[in-house]
């Protein structure tokens, strides 16, 4: 028997009464942790992806949102593949590499993957544009100086993850992300049936922690055929030289492709960062709500708990407990409530984020350990501060008022 045991036994005996205030604080922590872990992962996932994309300009159909692009919605808008030719045949300078894509989400077995059609390099390199530009040109290389501001990374550049230019890809070859391979139990050389067409796994990409892990790359032509979308694509990723970008490459591209949306990766990241800031503001509002609602409800509960236990407090004092012991019984109870609330809130919030993240933000959400610290700190803080006055009142109870059995 010790003070801690007294606290726990009392809590267990009177579960129902503290449940309401406990739930108030728990819900708050769950929402904050879920929102924070989703926004954290989406920001990171997009930054990782973009840093390793090997492209810095995206050409998308006018009505596409950046989320469509990453989530590869079935209904994502399309544009004619002829746009690639238009760029290639134009006199625009500074386009260093181009990669047209057609993506669609599809199910294989019970798993959902993104099928992405790409053109391997050997089928693009013959275009006249590659003969007039490209890294072979020393002038261009200087312009593509990685220290140039337009080329700065977001801190997630990783040579292992860098999406390599795919040099060649057979008509019925596919390259799969690591999740695809593990879920379908694939090895290099395994057969894989997609929409009734048999493919051979040419290689498996290393784990990246991004949507790419759930992607299957196949040849653009084959993708167009099996998806029934001949002659269309839904994105062109372009590696543009930074000096060219600052000299108006985007404007030039817009001139020849007026009904598209052309953005730079930096711009996308900034937009994402802004979205995250909005989410962060929401979590601040939530924080205020839990502090108010949770705090008031815990304070209220503690106050009536002290009231209800006056007699018990009196007898503890008579036995030889000091007012400080009484104070610790209540503050300790608040501490336990806070720790349990924080830990459960973190676990449930993280699970919520992991379940909702892929659905609402199209990202894989991983637990954020730092949020654990915050969740516990917030829950304990609210609970202990709200219980401070009730605990002080308990410690000041005058045994004379209760022990007299009049």
């Amino acid at each position: 028997m010790n003070l801690r045991k007294i606290i726990l036994k009392e809590l267990l005996e009177r579960k129902k009464q503290f449940l309401t205030s406990f739930i108030a604080i728990l819900l708050g922590v769950i929402v904050i942790v879920a929102v924070k872990s989703v926004s954290n992962s989406s920001e990171k996932a997009i930054a990782i992806q973009l840093d390793n994309l090997g492209a810095n300009i995206l050409v998308l159909p006018q009505t596409t949102t950046i989320d469509n692009y990453f989530a590869a919605d079935i209904n994502a808008p399309e544009m004619p593949e002829e746009y690639v030719e238009r760029i290639a045949n134009s006199t625009i300078k500074g386009v260093d590499n181009m990669s047209p894509k057609l993506s669609a989400r599809m199910n294989i077995g019970e798993h959902s993957f993104v099928l992405t059609g790409i053109l391997p390099k050997n089928e693009l390199a013959s275009k006249p544009i590659w003969q007039t530009s490209g890294f072979a040109d020393p002038g261009l290389q200087a312009a593509c100086d990685p220290n140039n501001i337009m080329n700065t990374s977001h801190g997630y550049e990783d040579p292992k993850l860098q999406r390599k230019v795919i040099d060649s890809l057979g008509e019925y070859d596919c390259i799969t992300g690591s999740d695809v391979a593990s879920k379908l139990n694939l090895k290099e050389g395994s057969p894989l049936e997609i929409n009734g067409t048999e493919f051979k796994v040419a290689s498996i990409l290393p784990q990246t922690g991004t949507v790419d892990d759930g992607r299957i790359f196949i040849h653009l032509r084959t993708a167009q055929k099996i998806l029934g979308k001949k002659g269309v694509i839904n994105a062109i990723e372009i590696m543009g030289c930074c000096s060219a970008i600052s000299e108006g490459l985007l404007g030039n591209l817009r001139n020849i492709l007026p009904d598209t949306k052309i953005t730079t990766i930096n711009h996308i990241v900034q937009t994402q960062v802004e979205t995250n800031h909005t989410m962060a503001k929401f979590s601040v509002i939530f924080l205020i709500i839990i502090i108010l609602v949770g705090g008031i409800s815990i304070g209220n509960y503690m106050w009536s708990n002290v009231e209800e236990r006056k007699k018990e407090i009196g007898s503890l004092l008579a036995i030889g407990a000091s007012p400080k012991d009484i104070y610790y019984i209540f503050i300790g109870k608040a501490l336990i409530l806070g720790v349990i609330g924080g830990v459960t809130g973190y676990v449930l919030g993280t699970l919520g984020g992991m379940i909702l993240g892929p659905r609402i933000a199209g990202v894989k959400v991983l637990p954020v350990p730092l949020l654990f610290v915050w969740a516990v700190l917030i829950a304990v803080g609210v609970s202990v501060i709200a219980s401070y006055f009730p605990a002080r009142r308990a410690a000041k109870i005058d045994p004379a008022l209760i022990l007299q059995e009049i």
Binding site: I6, E13, S315, A318, I319, G320, A321, L403, E405
Partner: protein, 220 residues
Amino acid sequence: MIKIENLSKKYHSKGNSVLALDEVSLSIEKGEFISIVGPSGSGKTTLLLCMGGLIHPSVGKVNIDGASIYDMGIKERAAFRLRNLGFVFQTFNLIPYLTALENVQIPLSLAGNNNGNQTERATQLLEKLGLGDRLNHKPRELSIGQQQRVAIARALANNPKIILADEPTGNLDPNTTNETVTYLNLLNQTGITVVMVTHNPGVAERAQRTLRLVDGRLAG
């Protein structure tokens, strides 16, 4: 052993003040069995709580074994209670969500005993009081008489020199009343000083000495 000098206690509540004790002086020797009687409202409980260091008197001193307990700090006084005094109340005041054993363990735990020692000592005490088969019962699962015995075991946990009992038999039937007083007598014979407030003349008679309070003053 217990020396009370010139003790007065005035309660203030909502503008009224009540003089519950009016210049009481008395002394109780080590090993005595004292009963305190008097009409309702005469200040018996107040006197007992003052003796036990639980309410600060308005005027006067309480000396126990030469120590003036209201000159101690709050913490020191709590520690003093823990080591020297055992309280028994009319309504027992057991902690409702703890078992008999755990109730007796509380004072042992407050005195710094480890769990093993606590369990051993508490079990021993409860067995002595005939509750060996009720260790893990909560107060509501015990009869009134059994609850009173748990309360006595709890008061005895730290080998107190003095037992202060406020109408310990007030809620008991004649049989258990008799048992309880007999038990207090036995304790007294082991050298413990017992001070017991009671309304029951038959119970009061069994003490060595009876003090009568009327209107907060000791009467002849």
